[in-house]
């Protein structure tokens, strides 16, 4: 397995180099210097700033520098828009906030939608199934934005007006587990509602596929109860697509949700990333992209490994 991981990593090195290169090239279509200068700066100031940002170095040197800092985990370049703060610090600060939002959302969504999907799949074709599928489709057909705008207005503001005391925070963020529910629960719930439609449908499809398998009949012929069939035979098999789906979403946990973060004032990664792109903060964008791409590739490898753990038929080679 170790050899497998190493080989996979080596295989993905060109991908990785290409990602970093691509992002650097795309970013360098723009000139960040002017935006970072103060009022009344002249051409000399411009040149000095450019020098200071290291943008006048040959492209390959910049590329090499970035790669070196990534491979040595030295994320100590200063953010351009927030001087005095290194990129690493920014990531360390922002990522946990995104995680505090996305991880519970993922866990809740996955748990709820797997259970709903199972109920739906087992009642396939009945009214309950049709209702659940319809609700899922209904939920998927409304824009994320609308959920947020209305969720914030009704869920936070109107609800607290109605109850006469705050239930969910309208906006804002405090670290710490104690504050989590107050600040994060509403955005998490919105995010759960948004993604539940997709997940339920996907998991239902997986489950339906599994219910049609012969081994299910075999198990029932052996006298297994519904519960045993559902939770032992089916779930174990369905774990493979479920894990794939969850693993694929894992890297996205760190990017957070731009819209939710923006509306609820959670300064997570989505928020930081968007403002970094808007303000041409190259070090932040580049480093974050590199980290994300790394996570993405690792998650692909991890998916393979989990595959092998859950499915005895799969061998890592």
């Amino acid at each position: 397995m170790f050899a497998y991981i190493i080989r996979k990593l080596v295989y993905n090195i060109p991908v990785y180099l290409a990602i970093v290169l691509l992002v650097m090239i795309l970013l360098r279509q723009r000139d960040p210097v002017a935006g970072l200068l103060g009022k009344n700066a002249d051409a000399k100031d411009y040149a000095a700033k450019k020098q200071e940002l290291g943008l006048n170095r040959p492209f390959l040197i910049q590329y090499g520098d970035l790669l070196r800092s990534i491979f040595t985990f030295q994320f100590d370049e200063e953010s351009w828009t927030q001087p005095g703060v290194t990129v690493g610090e920014k990531l360390v600060e922002a990522v946990p906030r995104s995680l505090a939002l996305t991880v519970p959302a993922l866990v809740l969504t996955s748990l709820i939608s797997i259970v709903v999907a199972m109920i739906s799949a087992f009642n396939r074709g009945r009214f309950l199934d049709k209702l659940l599928v319809f609700l899922a489709v209904l939920g998927m057909s409304i824009s994320f934005l609308v959920y947020i705008i209305f969720g914030q207005y009704f869920g936070a503001y109107q609800l607290s007006q109605w109850l006469g005391r705050p239930v969910f925070s309208i906006h804002g963020y405090e670290p710490g587990l104690v504050n989590w529910a107050y600040y994060m629960l509403l955005p998490v719930l919105i995010s759960v509602i948004v993604s539940m439609g997709y997940d339920t449908r996907f998991y239902r499809a997986v489950m339906v596929e599994e219910t049609q398998r012969d081994y299910i009949t075999t198990a029932r012929a052996k006298g297994a109860t519904r519960g045993k069939v559902m939770f032992v035979h089916m779930l174990r098999n369905a774990m493979i697509p479920i894990i794939t789906r969850i693993m694929i979403t894992l890297p996205f946990l760190v990017t957070g949700s731009i819209l939710l973060e923006q509306f609820f004032g959670i300064p997570g990664m989505g928020y930081v990333l968007l403002s970094a792109i808007r303000n041409n903060d190259f070090p932040v964008v580049e480093t974050f992209t590199a980290v994300f791409a790394g996570l993405f590739i690792l998650s692909i490898i991890a998916t393979d490994i989990l595959y092998a753990l859950f499915d005895p038929r799969v061998r890592l080679q």
């Binding site: 057909s141 824009s143 705008i149 990333l273 792109i277």
Partner: protein, 396 residues
């Protein structure tokens, strides 16, 4: 019997047409397509959407406006305009400048006009003394008088133009006084356009690359997998935003091309994966192997045997991508990277959000955009469900 005929008369298609909700969904989609076509043929132009048809944030369904709003309409928009016209040296020319369509002002002498306006201003000042018009029923007759004064300057609409006026006001107006209904309808075209173009492009590209990767294997496969791993390893946001920046200064920035490219760069990956998997499966099928043994060229086999047999997946992916594109457009436009220079549902929702519509309880704009989008996406969702049911029963 042609290929397409055969395709459409298969058992799967018959099954599709037996599904009642799918048929309803198709009818809904047809209605949208028809509207889009109507818009595209010049039924509603960008200019129409940008025309001010009434006062700001008017509720729809001809709901009685509050006296406050009527007052605003009568005074803040119209009086200053006419006043300004009167203060000009060249009066007839100035009066012609007065907007709001078919005003009668031109036919009135300056003295007459001045009298009307003076009377109106007088009334206005009296009204200004009241606290809140809603609560002040005694002032309502005065408001009526003011409106009459203002109305004397405007000719009533008749016939077609009246019908159009009514139609454009049916769902109210936005913060700039533009018709929400017309903007909503125009957005159908944008949505359909973005959806169709993106989905068609991505499905074709994804299918070709996926089939090639799956069929040829080896370095072709490695290459294509590398490319899509690269694209999917860059956070979508970074890619979309950076790409859309690339166009800010170019010739195409007001068209939908940047949106297409931003979507096109990422959306093909899913299709490519699916088709690649299916091709790997097909490759092991006897008839493909038979064709290979028979010595047909790989390209011929790919085009003749492999790709047609993934048609159902392409169809399903097409409808899924379409939904994805329509929904992503909304988010992209909200963040300011999407559609520019013309209305779209995303822009309408964004405007509604930015204009504080929800907070102040004005749901017409956001409601219209959401409802129109909802119906279309729901129809496509139901259709794609039905498609999957019919063509790919394993993935219900």
């Amino acid at each position: 019997m042609s290929m397409t005929d055969r395709f459409f008369k298969t058992r799967e298609f018959r099954k599709l047409f037996r599904n009642k909700s799918a048929v309803i969904a198709m009818l809904v989609i047809a209605a949208y397509l028809f509207t889009a076509l109507f818009v595209m043929c010049g039924g509603i132009t960008r200019e129409t959407c940008d025309t001010v048809v009434g006062q700001n944030k008017m509720p729809g369904f001809f709901i009685q406006q509050t006296p406050e709003q009527r007052y605003e309409n009568a005074t803040s928009k119209f009086l200053p305009m006419v006043q300004r016209a009167l203060s000009r040296a060249d009066q007839t020319a100035a009066l012609a400048d007065v907007r709001l369509g078919q005003e009668r002002v031109v036919n009135k002498s300056a003295a007459q006009l001045q009298a009307i306006i003076d009377r109106a201003i007088e009334l206005k000042n009296e009204l200004n003394q009241s606290e809140d018009l809603d609560a002040d029923s005694a002032r309502l007759p005065q408001l009526k008088a003011l409106e009459d004064q203002v109305a004397m300057l405007k000719a009533p609409l008749t016939g077609w133009s009246r019908l159009m006026q009514n139609a454009s006001l049916v769902l109210g107006t936005d913060a700039q006084g533009r018709s929400i209904f017309l903007r909503g309808l125009y957005s159908i075209k944008i949505a359909i356009q973005i959806g169709l173009v993106t989905a068609a492009f991505c499905v074709l590209l994804g299918a070709l690359l996926g089939a090639a990767a799956g069929y040829f294997g080896g370095w072709v496969d490695h290459g294509i997998v590398w490319v899509y791993t690269t694209f999917s390893s860059i956070p979508n946001l970074v890619l979309l935003v950076v790409l859309s920046y690339a166009f800010t200064d170019s010739e195409v920035k007001d068209t939908l091309l940047p949106v297409y490219i931003a979507f096109g760069a990422t959306f093909w990956i899913g299709t490519c994966r699916v088709i690649r998997g299916e091709t790997l499966k097909l490759k092991r099928m006897e008839y493909i192997q038979a064709a290979q043994t028979a010595g047909f060229s790989p390209f011929y086999i790919l085009v003749r045997h492999v790709i047609p047999n993934t048609a159902h997946l392409m169809l399903i992916n097409f409808s899924l991508l379409l939904i994805g594109a329509i929904k992503s457009e909304v988010i992209l436009s909200f963040l300011g990277f999407g559609v520019k220079g013309q209305p779209s549902w995303g822009i309408m929702i964004r405007d509604a959000g930015n204009n504080g519509d929800v907070v102040s309880g004005f749901f017409w704009e956001i409601g219209t955009a959401t409802a129109l989008m909802f119906a279309l996406v729901l129809a496509f969702n139901i259709l794609s469900d039905a498609l999957q049911d019919a063509f790919d029963p394993k993935h219900v």
